[in-house]
């Protein structure tokens, strides 16, 4: 098991930094995701960890040893590529043996390890197949097995599920996560899919424009986003305006206890997740903010509502379909005060 430490890592292709001085400490056996839109620097970071790209500045340490000048083949990494990159002219067995042959491991041990790893990825009996004779999911598992069979220091995955259909993708999420836990290997996973990052990772690194916007557990990222960009990238969010004044923040949902150090008179943005609130009938007798259902979208396990508030603002709400409201219904929105998360002042309103 290996601890990976990335220190002030920068990559500049000559048109401004693609990765701009990022630092991440990855604990032994940790599963960490680099999450962000395309062009945010997540793939470049992974390539630098792998050794396919030189770092312009900064250090990458495996267990304290700087590997920046170590070539790819000497870094002892296992990598899974987006398109699997299985060798088409080799059988599954030959694909798996490749890395072991490079390590000059004896034929007997190679055979033994291949049998073991094929069992692990549930592909026993597929050793003689060529990659083209396998389904997408099976190819994916061979790619994982090929990366793991060499028992590398770290496992790097570059959007490995992007080419699979939705159902298989969800299965593979669980499969990869379970496998990683069992093997206990330090893992860096690159994805632009927030659901993937959230369900699989111990911690998520959210990146925008070559910088880290936030590092945290999936619930940190979702419930306590560091800024508006993170809040909007990770799931749906309602941005509620509030005005700070004498110890409280006044919002359309009532007064909230002031959080953070904002001067009186500052207008701030608050994040409110669509499923964080409850919808109640107007005559339910409880407190709530009155709203009118503009439209609703039923998706089986959940219903999405677009609601108009009295002041004209729109709020998205997601609830279980136990109680259904029709378009045009008057409802009450009940939002617990602790579900509002301050995202900072609205520019130009700082008092």
């Amino acid at each position: 098991m290996t601890e990976v430490s990335i220190e002030k890592l920068t990559k500049d292709y000559g048109q401004g930094p693609a990765v701009n001085g990022i630092s991440i400490r990855i604990a032994e056996g940790e599963f960490i995701s680099l999450l962000g839109p395309s062009g945010c620097g997540k793939t470049t970071t992974l390539k630098m960890i792998a050794g396919f790209e030189d770092a312009t500045e900064g250090a990458i340490r495996f267990d304290g040893r700087d590997v920046v000048h170590v070539p790819v083949e000497k870094r002892d990494i296992g990598m899974v590529f987006q398109n699997y990159a299985l060798f088409p002219h080799m059988t599954v067995e030959k694909n798996l043996a490749f890395g072991l042959e490079m390590r000059k491991i004896s034929k007997a041990e190679i055979r033994e390890r291949i049998t073991k790893v094929l069992d692990m990825v549930q592909l026993a009996g597929y050793a003689e197949r060529y990659p083209r004779q396998l389904s997408g999911g099976q190819q994916q598992r061979v790619a994982l097995a090929r990366a793991l069979v060499i028992e590398p220091k770290i496992l790097l995955l570059d959007e490995p599920l992007a080419n699979l259909d939705a159902k298989l993708r969800e299965e593979m999420r669980v499969f990869i996560r379970d496998l990683q836990r069992r093997v206990g290997i330090t893992t860096v996973y690159v994805t632009h899919d927030q659901a993937e990052a959230m369900t699989m990772s111990d911690r998520v690194v959210v990146m925008f424009g070559g910088r880290i916007a936030q590092i945290g557990t999936p619930s940190d990222i979702y419930e306590r986003p560091s800024n508006l960009e993170v809040a909007e990238f990770v799931g749906q969010v309602n941005i509620i305006r509030g005005k700070v004044g004498s110890g409280t923040i006044s919002t359309p949902f009532g007064n909230l206890p002031a959080a953070g150090a904002y001067a009186d008179g500052t207008e701030i943005m608050l994040a409110l997740r669509p499923e964080a609130v409850e919808l109640l009938p107007v005559n339910s007798g409880t407190s709530g903010v009155p709203a009118k259902v503009r439209s609703s979208y039923y998706s089986g396990s959940l219903v999405d509502y677009r609601l108009d508030l009295a002041d004209g603002a729109t709020v998205n709400v997601q609830t279980f379909p136990r109680t259904r409201f029709a378009d045009g219904d008057e409802v009450l929105i009940h939002a617990p005060v602790d579900r509002f998360w301050p995202l900072g002042p609205i520019r130009g309103t700082e008092a």
């Binding site: 590529f81 299985l86 060798f87 088409p88 890395g99 490079m102 090929r146 790097l156």
Partner: protein, 285 residues
């Protein structure tokens, strides 16, 4: 024509022009050569009455002709090998290099084809001759005392043929390499292979179909090349194609010339088929 008939004959009508062109101007003349090779030698006429094997007998009984076929095959082999060795790195660069180089490189690779073959061959005589640019330069620098024999021999022919046929080697290999996902090499590197090993174990075997296609093209073109061998080889070194033309045009021996042409075609075809079989087996292994 009703709809059913249109469906049936439509495709046939579309290929008819090409089929007629090839049939009349290629297949029929070839068949004529085959028939001609069994004719009696003529006296003042292209061929005599009746059929005979005497032309083939003349070929097999004269070591001169068999040697000439062997020479031609050898020149074809060396030309192909030289094109492969010189062409592969260029093909790789064209397939994987940066785009600025690619556009320019593509133009350079195709440039030999832009100049007529006669002009190009005369160009080589200017460079390769005893009084040519290369020999005069080398003698001028005092590197050699007398001119190197670069012309009127197999070496000169190979040099000129390599120049002409290099594009036919480069283009198929380039397209084969372009079809190889670069992430395969990256995967090999990540598994512990050096750049050289990744090339040898992954890129090279996967580009074999391109090597095969390019080699067959260059080999066949070399065997049938006429203008370049006749200008550069002169009277001293003759390839089969030159001898065939001599027999047909200079000495007017149509039946014997036809037999020579067929022997060249058959030996060439055998080499190509054997080579194809061998490389296909290698590809599967």
């Amino acid at each position: 024509m009703n709809v059913a008939a249109k469906k049936r004959f439509g495709p046939l009508l579309l290929i008819a022009p090409a089929a007629i062109l090839i049939g009349v101007f290629l297949v029929l003349p070839y068949l004529n050569i085959v028939v001609m090779s069994f004719r009696m030698p003529g006296q003042g006429t292209p061929y005599g009455p009746g059929f005979t094997l005497v032309n083939y007998g003349k070929f097999f009984s004269d070591i001169f002709y068999i040697q000439q076929v062997a020479n031609t095959l050898w020149i074809g082999f060396v030309t192909t090998l030289a094109c492969l060795i010189l062409g592969y790195p260029v093909a790789w660069q064209l397939a994987r290099g940066n785009s600025a180089f690619r556009a320019m490189g593509y133009g350079l690779v195709l440039s030999p084809l832009l100049v007529g073959i006669v002009i190009r061959s005369y160009g080589w005589t200017i460079l390769l001759g005893n009084n040519g640019l290369i020999n005069r330069t080398l003698m001028g620098w005092g590197i050699i005392d007398g001119p190197l024999p670069l012309m009127y021999n197999a070496l000169g022919i190979v040099i000129a043929l390599v120049h002409v046929f290099l594009p036919f080697m480069i283009l198929p290999i380039m397209s084969a390499i372009q079809g190889i996902d670069p992430s395969l090499e990256a995967a090999a590197r990540s598994l512990g292979a050096s750049k050289a090993t990744a090339f040898r174990r992954i890129t090279l075997p996967l580009s074999l179909p391109g090597i095969q296609a390019g080699s067959i093209l260059v080999f066949v073109l070399s065997l049938s090349a006429y203008v370049t061998p006749s200008l550069i080889g002169g009277l001293r070194v003759k390839t089969m194609a030159v001898t065939v033309v001599d027999a047909l045009i200079d000495t007017f021996q149509w039946p014997f010339g036809s037999a020579l042409a067929l022997m060249l075609s058959v030996t060439g075809a055998i080499v190509v088929v054997v080579f194809g079989r061998l490389t296909v087996m290698k590809w599967k292994a």
